[in-house]
């Protein structure tokens, strides 16, 4: 008796993994939550930009470095491309090409964070950092945000929260991409079974998608 139940369990676990469409649907639903999470932030941004502080936002936006923002856009778009290419490669049974593309993707993500580091560092050294983080005053001098016009202060508040949250998602992306890389190497992902990789890809594109809106809003409104 107990034997047959165990068999049943085995079947069930297989069943759980077999539902390719179901997994993808679950992933999409998760992505909706991500979209709406950032959607709330964008709502706040638009409300302040359109209804309260249009001028201030323009002025504050001029302080951002378009080169760095644009560069990061390029990097993210490229990583999105290599991500899908990696998937196509695995579907076409080209494991090594897929690994190559995955590594490029991860490298791009790393590059994005490096650029972000320098960008934030530059802001901090000008005294532009959230005012309550008083421990930073030791390194960068007191925060100048409270002395800015109110709209500009809010702009920087939103800038740090939005790019910070986005950066957090990039790092999470790197973590799951590393898992995918591992799975491809040990043949856990192959031309028959690539649902996991596709779903991670979807997540990675959402990170890109959010940046597609962040970039013009933050860097180009000026």
């Amino acid at each position: 008796m107990s034997n047959s139940t165990e068999l049943h369990i085995e079947e069930n676990h297989d069943h759980e993994h077999e539902d390719y469409v179901g997994d993808k649907m679950g992933m999409w639903l998760f992505l909706f939550t991500e979209l709406l999470l950032f959607g709330g932030m964008f709502l706040a941004f638009l409300v302040y930009y359109i209804s309260f502080y249009t001028e201030d936002f323009h002025n504050a936006g001029k302080n951002l470095n378009v080169m760095m923002g644009g560069g990061n856009t390029l990097i993210l778009l490229t990583s999105s491309l290599t991500m899908v290419l990696a998937i196509t490669a695995i579907q076409k049974k080209n494991k090594f090409l897929s690994i190559f593309y995955l590594i490029v993707t991860i490298a791009c993500a790393g590059g994005f964070m490096v650029v972000k580091y320098f960008e934030w560092g530059a802001k901090f050294s000008h005294g532009l950092y959230p005012a309550k983080l008083t421990s930073l005053a030791e390194y960068f001098g007191p925060s100048i945000i409270p002395s800015l016009p109110k709209g500009e202060a809010i702009f920087f508040g939103l800038y740090f929260t939005m790019t910070g949250l986005h950066g957090f998602h990039v790092m999470a992306g790197v973590a799951v991409l590393l898992i995918v890389l591992y799975k491809v190497i040990v043949n856990d992902i192959d031309s028959e079974k690539f649902g996991y990789m596709e779903n991670v890809g979807l997540y990675w594109h959402v990170v890109d998608l959010i940046w597609i809106y962040l970039f013009p809003l933050l860097y180009l409104v000026a």
């Binding site: 999409w28 979209l35 930009y49 359109i50 290419l85 998608l209 597609i212 809106y213 409104v221």
Partner: protein, 96 residues
Amino acid sequence: MSHSNDEVHIVSYGTHTMVYIGLLSLTALTVAIAGGNFGSLTLLIAMFIATCKAGLVLSYFMHVKFEDRVIQMMVASAIILLIVAYGMSFIDYGTR
């Protein structure tokens, strides 16, 4: 309703690369336009271009174009919901 993997639509390297080039040109376009002076239209134009880019990413990179009907409808309704919620918020802020 079950789909086996062989039904999966494989997008070619070429298509992806074309999409990528499209995305790059659109990025260049927004940066260029932001330099010009369009006044209050700037935001609208920037958002329009961003939405075109997002459309490309969604339909090709994220495969929505080749997906099940159900998933397409889900994606559409989530996006529509978000847009409507934005609109509703501006019923208040737009009339301040």
